[in-house]
């Protein structure tokens, strides 16, 4: 590792001289940057289609681990461990996704004496099952949504519980996920049929008919608390993130702080303390996130705990000034958390857009392919976490996140303006992206007012007014297209270099 001397406190580098990053894309780049800043050598792993990926280009060492399909590479814990042994890496940072919440892989690392940069395998296992996580949270005094915790035994029981907690309610498959085996019920007379449907769908999807019941939160916010704890029982919370802006249960814009929490004095502290209590109950250490549903009155309910670094961690870093990845590595190396809750303060506002390779004009279909041109924004208050470069061919095999564009400013209004300015500076050529979609959302008055909830985008899509080009600009667009066409024609001598051009706007 070149030039690393004198870059970091001796304590950490005595423990980790080399860390393997078991991920790809922007998050692998993020972790490798932290390692370089801390004077620790980095090992990248890559699949066949990622040999020239940005995270490989930035690493000190690189090991190929198999085919394009993630089941042949980034999900192959055995090969990743072999790469760590071969290169002599003392630790593995899993990033998010892939093996990051796989208790078995964490246990395998532990048994091989390689540090897994994250919580213990037992904490992951306890929090990995929804029902066990809920039980744990409840025992710790963290509010969970009213309802049953185990499968319903009869329609009679369902009716009784629903009457007690009040309609609407939601039936959920115990083994569930992805919306399968879920039924929202508004009225008592519908509950028996809904239970039958949900149970048989659960049986078909998960081979487990068990269904439980929960209070349905109307127009909830998805607000999560970032926690950070060491291996000695010290734990703090780093404020919240507002992640209500979702499309098909996928977050698209995240921010910190939450406009809702800002308007409810004391709520941050109550949620933060509840999150820390739940995490401590699971024996949690390292960075983690407790997700809550929050209703209109500010009641919050434990949803689940993400036992890893989140995609959206930059917004927390920007408002707290605390580097989560540096702390993840320190904690994994056995350092004590020197920060106390009093050291955590929030300054200004941060917001992040996830730039995806997808085509908003075409049902948000994935749009892999070669990035022909890449113009990225910069200037005050801009943070970019990118996993791509011009000329890179975005593979079809992984998720479509290209770049996280985040901005910081003193106020929410200013951060929105700054993000719009930055999106206007952004150009990703050759493939389609959702840049224009963000321009539309950020310009929306309700969004600017901070009235967010998880159904926001669905409502917004219905009322969305497509951007209409000013005629003067459209004229220039035609002019520019003609100029490029002429340039191209002039380069192909077989075509008439000068002909009369005609343009037809298609949109």
């Amino acid at each position: 590792m070149a030039g690393g001397s004198s870059r970091s406190p001796a304590t950490l580098r005595d423990v980790f001289r080399k860390v393997l990053v078991a991920n790809r894309g922007e998050i692998a780049v993020r972790v490798i940057r932290a390692l370089r800043e801390m004077g620790i050598a980095s090992v990248a792993v890559y699949s066949d289609v990622d040999r020239a990926a940005l995270h490989v280009r930035m690493a000190d060492e690189a090991v190929g681990i198999g085919g394009a399909a993630s089941t042949d590479s980034y999900l192959r814990g055995d090969r990743i461990l072999a790469a760590a042994r071969r290169t002599g890496a003392e630790a593995i940072h899993p990033g998010y996704g892939f093996l990051s919440e796989n208790a078995e892989f964490a246990a395998l690392c532990e048994s091989e004496g390689i540090v897994f940069v994250g919580p213990s395998s037992s904490a992951i296992a306890k929090l990995g099952s929804k029902t066990s996580a809920r039980k744990l949270a409840k025992a710790a005094g963290t509010p969970i949504p009213p309802g049953t915790e185990q499968g319903l035994k009869s329609a009679e029981e369902a009716r009784a519980v629903a009457r007690e907690i009040g309609f609407p309610v939601i039936l959920k498959a115990e083994a569930g996920g992805g919306g399968k085996g879920m039924r929202r019920v508004e009225r008592e007379q519908d509950i028996e049929a809904a239970l039958r449907d949900a149970s048989s769908e659960a049986e078909r999807s998960f081979r487990n008919p068990a269904v439980y019941i929960e209070k349905f939160i109307v127009r909830p916010r998805h607000i999560e608390i970032q926690v950070l704890g060491d291996q000695y029982g010290n734990m703090i919370y780093l404020g919240e993130r507002e992640c209500s802006l979702q499309r098909r249960h996928q977050k698209v814009i995240e921010e910190a702080p939450s406009p809702f929490v800002e308007r409810h004095p004391g709520l941050r502290q109550r949620m933060g303390e509840a999150a820390v209590a739940a995490a401590l109950a699971a024996g949690y250490s390292n960075a983690g996130t407790v997700e809550f549903m929050v209703d209109d009155s500010g009641n919050f309910y434990f949803l689940e705990m993400n036992t890893r670094l989140q995609v959206e961690h930059p917004v927390t870093e920007m408002v707290t000034g605390i580097d989560l990845v540096h702390w993840q590595l320190r904690i994994a190396a056995g350092e004590r958390l020197t920060l106390t809750q009093q050291d955590v303060s929030l300054r200004g506002w941060a917001m992040e857009c996830r730039l995806y390779a997808e085509d908003p004009d075409n049902g948000y279909m994935p749009s892999p392919g070669e990035i022909s041109t890449l113009a990225l924004p910069s200037g005050p208050g801009i943070r970019l976490d990118s996993g791509v470069y011009p000329g890179w061919c975005v593979p079809m095999d992984y998720d479509p996140l290209l770049i996280k564009l985040a901005a910081w400013a003193g106020t929410r209004q200013e951060v929105v303006s700054r993000l719009i300015r930055a999106l206007e500076e952004t150009y990703i050529g050759g493939i389609r992206t959702n840049v224009e979609f963000f321009l539309d959302v950020l310009a929306d008055a309700a969004f600017q007012a901070g009235d967010l909830h998880t159904g926001f985008l669905e409502e917004w899509f219905a009322r969305r007014i497509p951007y209409s080009w000013p005629e003067a600009d459209l004229e220039l667009a035609r002019e520019a297209a003609k100029l490029t066409a002429q340039t191209r024609a002039a380069k192909r001598p077989e075509l008439p270099a000068r002909s009369r051009w005609k343009e037809i706007p298609l949109r």
Partner: protein, 135 residues
């Protein structure tokens, strides 16, 4: 106004004192022009070839179902000879963890199936051809 090409395909145009930077990218036979994050597709064509293309289009009664993206074919839902409805799914293509069912824009008979399950396909590759019924 003298147009200035700052980078390949990037034009700075200044009608009067106004200034706009436009990024132009060929997109099939069209051009995608982007101005401060906003883009529009435009067709710029020699009038003669345009007339020809229009005529050809009018004569055709077949719909080509193409993959809108590079990906892998997960399922082929029709066979040659099948009679299908407009909007009926014909092929499922997967990319970036997302499955997309491609639908026929017209009712008619499947005359070609140019792909099989498990195959990799390119963006815009034609997978299925559907011939409309006469009348």
């Amino acid at each position: 106004m003298k147009p200035v090409q700052a980078e390949p395909g990037v034009w700075s145009l200044t009608p009067g004192s106004r200034q706009r930077e436009l990024r132009v990218e060929p997109d099939g036979e069209q051009y995608r022009v982007t101005l401060r994050g906003r883009s529009v597709r435009l067709l710029v064509e020699d009038p003669r070839s345009w007339a020809g293309a229009a005529k050809g289009k009018g004569a055709s009664r077949a719909a080509k179902v193409a993959s809108p993206m590079p990906g892998r074919v997960v399922r082929v839902l029709v066979e040659v000879g099948h009679i299908i409805e407009a909007g009926q799914g014909v092929v499922v293509v997967e990319a970036m963890k997302m499955q997309n069912e491609l639908k026929s824009p017209i009712a008619g008979t499947v005359t070609q199936v140019q792909v099989s399950e498990g195959a990799n396909v390119n963006g815009k590759q034609v997978l299925v051809v559907v011939e409309a019924h006469a009348g």
